[in-house]
Each structure stands twice: as C-alpha cells, then as structure tokens.
Amino acid sequence: MTTAPAPSKEPTVTVPDTSTEVQLLVEPSSLAPRRRMAQSLLRSRELSILAVLLLVIAAATIKNPSFLLSSSGWRDLLLTPSMLILLAVGQAAVIITRNVDLSVGSVLGLTAYLTGRLFIDHPGIPVVVVFAAGLLVGAVLGLVNGLLVALGRVPALVITLGTLYIYRGLVLSWAGSSRINASDLPAGFLALGTQQILTIPVLFLIAVVVLSAVGYYLYTARSGREFYAIGSDPDAAVLYGLNVRRRVIGAFLLSGALAGLAGVVFAARYGSVSSDAGTGIELQAVAAAVIGGVAIFGGSGTVWGAAIGAVLLVTINRALPMLGIPDFWQQALVGALILSAIVLDRVLSARQSRRLVEARDQS
C-alpha cells in the first residue's frame, strides 16, 4: 500500500503527476464573469421573448401612439396581463416539476365568485381578508390536486382535468345564475382594480411581487431547485433522496393559491363575476408558460419567462386591432405564436446540445 498525501481540509487531491496537474487544472471558465453573464443572457429564451414583446409594443405604438404613451395605454399595458401573470407563474412551477394543472380556470372562477360573496355577505370585511381568503381557498383546492397526483401516483393531466370539472361544478352550483355586480363590491376594492402607484397599477405590482418571490425562491432556495431536479428526471430525484412528493404537492399548492389570488384580482379588475368566469383560461396559462420557454416535460424554464409569455399573449391580443388585423384573427396568431415558440425551443436546444457535444469532443 502506498501512503496517500496527508488529508487536507480542502477536498482537493494532489494530482499524481505534476505535468498533468498543470495541464488539467480546471478553470471555472475561460470567460470573464461579466461577459459570461452577458452571453448567457443573450442566449436565454426569456430575452428573445422579451424582444418579441418589445417589438409588438413598438409596432403598435408607432401605428397608434396612445397604445403606450397615453396614461390609459400605459396602465392597460401593465394591468391587463396581471391576472394571467399570476396563473402563468403557478403553472410554470407545476410544469417545471413535469406536471400540469388544468384546474386553474375553475379555481379562479370559484375564488372570484367567493370574493363577491364575501363582500355581499359580510359588509365591511377588510380587503386584505378577502385576498387572504382567495389565496387560502385556492391553496386548499391546489392541495387536493397535489395530494391526488402525488399520493395516487396518477397523471396530473387526468386528475386536474377531473378537478377542472368538479371545481367548475361547485361554482355553478353555488352561484347558480346569480352574479356579482360592481355595485355589490365596495368602492375601495374596485379602486384596487385601477389604482396606480407612481403610474404602476397595484394589481400589476401584486403580480410582480408574487413573480419575484416565486422566481427568487425557485432560483435561490434548495427546495426551489428541487422542482427543477424533479422535472428533469423524476427517477434520479428519488435516487438523490429528494422528497419528490412534498415538492409536487408544493407546486400544486402554489399553483392553486395563485389561481385563487387571480380570482380576487379578476373581481377587482372586471367588477362583475358570473359563474363561468375564467373558463378556458387554463390553456392560456399553459400556453404562456410554453411561449416563455418552460419545457412542457419539465426541468427547465423560469417563471420570468412564463410571465413574459403571459404579457406577450395578452399584449398581442390588444395590439392586433391596432395594427389593423381584425380581432377575429387574433387567436390564430396566438396559435401560430405558440407553435413557433415550441419549434424555436427545439431548434435552440438542439443547437445547444450539439454545441455541448462539440465542446466535449474538443476538450
């Protein structure tokens, strides 16, 4: 037996041969940190979607300056997508774990109606309590999804398709044909729908705060990173000893809570709620995430991308009439946009993996 070098504190090992040591010494990267950051930013999906968004805004503004430059234009630009941002952020978190949540539209409808009911049945209830109630009810509904998916070990698509029907059925039974009108809601709450702080709408601020919190969590928390690991390879995640069930339940809980919050936002923004509020919006939320670069089979993408995707979807809808495209064609354009996003994603990732393989071959 030879004696190995004395154990050092650092987990480094003296490399057997000095000549190879020099040659093989690893540099973290040959690029300066700032340039590397700039490069990876330039290549990121988020940035390319943002560029498309800015292009759309620019085109619409040139055609009609009030699209951006009037005070309503600026406000609507931020306000209109707020609700979809919330949904897309939750959806992105779920998709990153290689699941999907189709029930968000129904959850939104339920909490939107709940919001109105609370104001009608408990006059004078503080707005904060209503927001908390929406968040909580959404979280509970999301938890049900999460438990069914994680404990039942059944596909999320089927479960949330089922709960889409169930939750919608609950709203319909509860609301019947009654509806919430603006006059049922207190002025202070309705004002939230349009209030601005330094020209930034409050609802948009809420969306951005949520987005930042979730984005920060997913990027910097251990458990946040585990969302990605689980989506990237669920079997490997089990071998790593990650608590897959807890994270999946957590993702659904988050998505439900944000859909619940979006329901309250819906009530504040539109001022009237009928029992079919939010019908069909789940596919928009999935589409926003996909456009924003969240891979449908999990593991990659960011909530920032999903949020930009949501803004792009909504803004395109608003800009097309301005560009002289009849609004009837908008949906077709959205479809084409989704498809090109997926195809682009494939092209980029193919190029990326080719680049990585080449890098390996050369090293």
Binding site: P155, R168, G169, G280, G335
Partner: protein
C-alpha cells in the same frame, strides 16, 4: 423436447368480466336501468334519439383519440378542427358548393390539420401536449377568422334533416350507421390487425417497438391525420345537426372527449385500453347527462359527476394495487418491501 402452454392464465369469463371495460359497461347498464325506472320520460324513444345525437360527435372523435392516446400521445386540437370544418362547410355552402363537395373539402382540410400535428409530433419529435395546445388555438383562430362571429344557417333542410333523421321507427339516428361503420373499421384496425398491435407496442415501449421494425413515426403520423379527418367529419355532422356553422362550434369539446376516453379505461400513459370501454365511457357520460337534465338538474351537477368519475377511475387503479399489495404483504407476513417510486407525471 418442447413444452406446450396454456394460451391464457385465466378462463374466458374472468378475462371478460374482471376488466375496466366490463366495469364501465356494467356501470352503463346500471345507470340506464336506474334512469329507466326513476326518471320520467327516460324510456321514451325521443330520449334515445336525442341522447345519441348529442354524443355522436364525441363518439366519432373518441375513436381516433383512443388510438392516439394508446400510443402515448394526445390531441387537444380536435374541437378546433370541428369548428374549422364547420366554418368551411358554411362558407363553401354560401359560395354555392353542394353539401357533399363542401363536406369533402372540409374533411380534406381536417386531415391536413391532423397532418400538421402529426408532422410536428412524429417527425420533429415535439411533445404532443404542447403542439396541440398550439394548434388548438391556431385552428380555432382560423375558424373564427374566416367567419368572424357570424353564423351560416341557411343549409338546405333536406341535409339538416338527414343529420337527425332516425332509422325507421327505432328512434336511432341514421347517422349512427356512419359511426358504426367507423367503429368497426377502428376496432378491426386496433384489435384485429398488425397495425393495432403496433399501436399498443408504441404506447408500452416505443423504443422496443422501433427495434422490432414497427414504424413508430409513420404510425403516429397516420393516427393524427385520422384524428383530424374524423374530427372534421364530426364537424360536418355538428353543423348539419344544428343547421349552424359558427367559428365557436364545439368549443371545449376536446376535454369532454378526453374525459370519456380516459373514463373508458384508456391509460393516459399509453398502451392500455379498448374501444369497447371507450364507447361505454362516452355513453355513460351521455346517459348521466341526459337523465339528470330530464330531472331538471343542470350542468353543474353533471360537471361534478363527470369530474368525480374521472378522478375516481384513475385513482381506483392505484388504490386497488395498494389494497392488493397490503393483502399480499399480510399473507406473506414479510416486512414491507416498499420501493420509492417517482410520482405520476404527465
């Protein structure tokens, strides 16, 4: 010295009766009997007619959808193809095309829609869930774009009547012949042909199927094309039955179709399921809806019931496996042999 084997581990009755399909069929019979004796007017011929007319589009689309899901893919764009073919039928009719010619063109366009899905999924290798969410928006957008939210309603009445006329005095819509024909074709293709075995193999292990010479790409492509064409046929029927071509016809139908297919015992992971179960699943939803409507119960409760059936039907497998696992463990008296496994995914 060669061994000989029993073909089956279980007798025929067990293989027929202890299956998901049998359970759904039993449920259909039970619900029908209950409705027949408890729901006023459920026994009427008219009920049968309307029930079948209502489920016909779902029945039609469920046929190719079953095959698509068995290969492990999904097609969310079907309802949009229904809308698009409806609009085409309307617009072409307005331009003076005869109904058969317009319908044929609609079918071709439907097949092309399916071909785009198939190309992106099978050839390019993109996930079908994402692709068909995109084409769901695209095809619906084209439908609405072509016609706006206007409607074409002046279809010749002999054609609109043909869509809902019944066979003699049976109360069964004549259009069921078309479904029956397609159902026979799809059943032979899926359950009694080499092609169908390939479809199952792709769903159970597409790599192994590829290694055995199954043309995985081509099979998937063909199935998406079929899905588009049959959806277009459903669109033609839908248009003539309601005498109205609108861009938003059948919006949301895709989820009903998928719910029915899954309820009928098809696994969303692919590889499992039978057309008989799917047809029973569609009928089950139709019968429940019809019976509840006749009792004056509205869509909300129907929604809840469909949702619950769907959730219960998928977790039942897990629950049953868990129960038999517990039972086996108790018999063996061994320590738990738990193996952590990944949770269900898409």
């Amino acid at each position: 010295m060669t061994r000989t084997y029993a073909a089956y581990a279980h007798p025929l009755w067990r293989r027929l009766l202890l299956t998901r399909e049998a359970a759904v069929v039993a449920l259909v019979i039970a619900v029908s009997l209950w409705a027949y004796s408890n729901v006023p007017y459920f026994g009427d011929q008219l009920t049968l007619t309307y029930l079948l007319l209502d489920v016909t589009p779902i029945l039609l689309i469920a046929l190719p959808m079953t095959l698509v899901i068995i290969t492990g893919e999904i097609d969310l764009s079907v309802a949009s193809v229904v809308g698009l073919s409806s609009v085409l039928l309307g617009v072409l009719h307005e331009r003076g095309f005869s109904i058969p010619v317009a319908a044929l063109i609609a079918l071709v366009v439907g097949a092309l829609c399916g071909a785009l899905n198939g190309y992106l999924v099978a050839r390019v290798g993109l996930p079908s869930l994402a692709v068909t969410i995109g084409t769901l928006a695209l095809y619906r957008g084209l439908a609405i774009g072509i016609l706006g939210t206007k409607a074409v309603t002046d279809f010749p009445s002999d054609w609109t009547q043909r869509a809902s006329e019944t066979i003699g005095g049976t109360g069964i819509p004549a259009f069921m012949w078309v479904f029956l024909l397609l159902a026979v074709v799809f059943t032979l293709a899926l359950h009694f042909s080499p092609f169908g075995r390939g479809v199952y193999d792709i769903g159970l292990g597409s790599e192994a199927a590829h290694f055995s010479g199954v043309k995985v790409e081509r099979t998937k492509f063909v199935l998406f094309v079929l899905s588009g064409a049959v959806s277009a046929l459903a669109g033609v029927f839908y248009t003539l039955r309601f005498g109205s071509a609108r861009g938003d016809n059948a919006a949301g139908l895709e989820l009903q179709v998928i719910a029915a297919v899954l309820l009928g015992g098809v696994s969303i992971f692919g590889g499992r399921g039978k057309l008989a179960g799917v047809v029973a699943g569609v009928l089950l939803i139709g019968i429940i809806s019809s019976a509840l409507r006749l009792q004056g119960i509205t869509v909300n409760v129907i929604n809840i019931i469909i949702g619950l059936l769907l959730v219960l039907s998928v977790i039942s497998t897990t629950v049953l496996a868990w129960v038999s696992d517990v039972a086996a463990r108790r018999n063996r008296g061994a320590r738990p042999t738990k193996t952590p496994a990944g949770v269900g995914t898409l």
